[in-house]
Amino acid sequence: MTQLQEKRITALQWLRIALIALAVIAPPFVFNGFLMSLAISGALLALAAMPLTLLTGTAGLLSLGHAAFFGIGGYAAGLLAHAFGIGLTLSILVGAAAGLLVGALVALATLRVVGIYLAVGTFALQFILQPIMQTIDVEVTYSTGFLLSSPSLLGFELSSPARWWYALVVLGVLLYAWLRWLQTSHVGHRWVVLKDNTTAAGVLGISLQKTRLGVFALTSAVTAGVGAISAYYYGNAQSGIYSLHLAILYLTIVALGGAGSLGGAIIAAFVMIALPPLIDSIVTYKGLVDPSRAGGIETITVGLILMFSLIVRNRESKRSSKDD
């Protein structure tokens, strides 16, 4: 490589770093209230999407329970705040522990069967937790949902959007670094082996069973932890939030960003969070469509994005395996 080419490559890398730095630092200064809330929501979505993309992309396991684990974290935060006045930091830990436990149970229950049954198990989880959450809503909070306020993370008070944003950025970087490290380590290698063997019918070897248990428990724990954080941001944890729709949204983010790509998941999360307001404004432009129908069109768009992401990515992997 010539010196000129080397310089050019480094220049590109610098540009990338500069753009990322801009994207990370700028928002509180340039965004208005609405855009800031969108950005923070996007960041929360990205945090939760990262473990799912590992689970589905790297380890090859389909989970429909992502909203359920997210909700476990949210409800853990709500119950702790309601019953013991416990704040954010501890809620994250307790929520993650609860997520880990439930994740381990689901994985254990479906360990000895073909991979699709994990999807079925998580599907069942969603439909078991939903009425439980509804009952908690009715019995404990009289259907208003848990109201969470004044969050502080390890002493850092999250009292403004800017503080929330930077806190989430730091968390995002840490989570990204940790998950990336796992992904490229021998643990991640085991996950890939698991993916290649999930297609085999019947019983997995003991060590692969352990791998399946491990990755599922881990990702469930992280998701629940993010769920606790998210509940504090929105100030509410209520059963209606944690629906199958949400789980499918997460799957769409993973598919859009490329299953297994942490960076892709982050970008896709921000794309998908910007989508509803974007569609809303396009669709109701000059009264083209009744605003009441906008919701349905948003849903159709998400479904189509999911479909096309899968088709496009599948063509990509076909092509790349040909030029191996």
């Binding site: 069967v113 599907f123 439909f127 009425p131 479904g303």
Partner: protein, 293 residues
């Protein structure tokens, strides 16, 4: 003691659940895809039947009801065919569950379509209520008809599968795709035909279900119960689908009679949980006889 009314309601539920569950089993057997959109296909068929009937009735077309049903079934047959065509486009590359996610994407898209077109409206088919006196009970004739016709159609579909050449080819396809290619079965055409056929089964199931409940977006949750029924019956067993549907109908109706109606959604899922832990391959217990390419 369980009343005759209870059994008629159970029969009725079993009728439409068995069609939906059978659609799931046909699809899973051929393609290892879990038809998560079965409920949405059924609900869409009900909506289209209703709206088509409204339109045709207004222009006083004779046999408006039958024509509406045919239009709806043609549409869902097309949707089923398209779904399978899309899945075929993906090929056997990549993860084994990509097809299932496509089905989930279809479910979401169809929900969005129904939401956009019909929004949150709830309709009912205009069927004059007729009651029969059986012993000391009064039972709705509609429930009986739905139950009997649903189960009869499901049984007929299974017979068709077991006795006809196309049926053998579909079984062959489910059993071993490569061998089927080598023995000259037009695999792609057959798979798309399975899609269309399953769409029709799901559509009829959805229309029958809507006839005794209601035509609404909520009725796509019938799909959840149908998935449970198919799994507890054994995902690769058509007869199991019917057994699972019957069992689910019994559990569902027992819950309404003896427990709170709030638990009606929870009980089938708990039943699924029990099966997943103790007998994941269902009543039929057919182990996966998968041959992956």
């Amino acid at each position: 003691m369980l009343s005759i009314e209870f059994w008629v309601n159970t029969l009725s539920s079993a009728g439409y659940y068995s069609l939906l569950a059978l659609a799931i089993v046909f699809v899973y057997s051929t393609n290892r895809v879990l038809l998560f959109c079965v409920g949405e296909i059924g609900a869409l068929a009900a909506f289209v039947t209703y709206s088509a009937h409204q339109a045709l009735h207004a222009v006083e077309l004779p046999l408006a009801a039958s024509v509406s049903v045919l239009i709806a079934l043609a549409l869902v047959a097309l949707i089923g065919a398209v779904l399978f065509w899309v899945i075929e486009q993906l090929g056997t590359n990549g993860s084994h569950f990509v097809g299932t996610i496509i089905a989930i994407a279809f479910a979401l898209t169809l929900q969005g379509v129904m939401n956009t077109v019909w929004q949150g409206e709830i309709y009912r088919f205009e069927i004059a209520p007729v009651f029969l006196d059986l012993g000391e009970s009064r039972v709705a004739l509609l429930s009986l008809v739905v139950g009997v016709s649903g189960l009869a159609l499901a049984a007929a579909a299974i017979l068709l599968l077991n006795r006809s050449r196309i049926g053998y080819e579909m079984q062959a396809l489910a059993d071993n795709r490569v061998l089927s290619i080598l023995r000259g079965i037009p695999v792609r055409r057959r798979i798309i035909a399975v899609g269309a056929f399953s769409g029709i089964l799901a559509g009829i199931g959805g229309i029958l279900g809507a006839a005794v409940t209601a035509i609404s977006l909520e009725s796509s949750t019938l799909g959840v119960n149908a998935i449970i029924a198919a799994i507890i019956g054994g995902l690769t067993s058509p007869a199991g689908a019917i057994a699972g549907a019957v069992l689910l109908a019994i559990v569902e109706n027992l819950t309404t009679v003896y427990l709170d109606s709030r638990h009606v959604t929870l009980m089938p899922v708990l039943l699924l949980g029990v099966f997943l832990i103790f007998r994941p391959y269902g009543i039929s217990g057919k182990a996966e006889t998968v041959q992956r390419v």
